[in-house]
Subunit: 151 residues, 2 copies
Amino acid sequence: MTRWPLPEYMQMALAQAREAADSGEVPIGAVVVKDGRVIAAGRNGPRESHDPTSHAEIEAIRAAARALGNERLEGCELWVTLEPCAMCAGAIAHARIARLYYGASDPKGGAVEHGARVFEHEQCLHRPEVYPGIGEAESADLLRGFFRERR
Amino acid sequence: MTRWPLPEYMQMALAQAREAADSGEVPIGAVVVKDGRVIAAGRNGPRESHDPTSHAEIEAIRAAARALGNERLEGCELWVTLEPCAMCAGAIAHARIARLYYGASDPKGGAVEHGARVFEHEQCLHRPEVYPGIGEAESADLLRGFFRERR
């Protein structure tokens, strides 16, 4: 477990992840924060919504953009429990997210520090600051527990 | 111009792109085809919808998944006027699109044959067959005309 108190935003993202698990979806959650205020939350839900783009980050980003009435989330932070995939990293860049905090690394599907490394190419028109590893153990525990139950 | 008759699906994607331009959005369009039938269409529209994920591919994929009641678009083709970005390439993989046909290459923002090359990493869990260059000139003309008018 992380040895310092988890920032409340990551706690809220983890709560979203638990909600996903309760609905039978892979437990990943996210929140968007602006000026210290949570303006949107989202959790993974592609099966029940019949939407392959329904990842926690996409849901939170779309909700935040609706809330602000602007497709650019300038000055916003995204807190998410797992390293974003290529789709979500791309959405983070398009949304101009200023800072990305994520929990567990995802060697199998991540695209920030693994694989496509979306932010590291000149075709990526905006790069957030990236802070990995916050709530890493809690996020990984949730995912392990979910897949263990399903085996 | 392409020297053979453009497949009707790319013509329909180009019509979607022209619709985007008429609304002041960058002209990119897409259709999803299954068993020779168009089941969904989409066009770029992030500004008017306040949705940074509102690219033609995402709109068409979400509409197709809704239409089929399934987040996996097995056996479906995506026809799009421009090389997909990282976000859209990721969505194409998540949706299990079988075949991707696109018009113009996009050295500045593409992530299929440029930059992140999303389909070329082991973290990409599904790779479509990819057919570039169909309707390339028509697509590029639309984009050039759009940006020329705005300068």
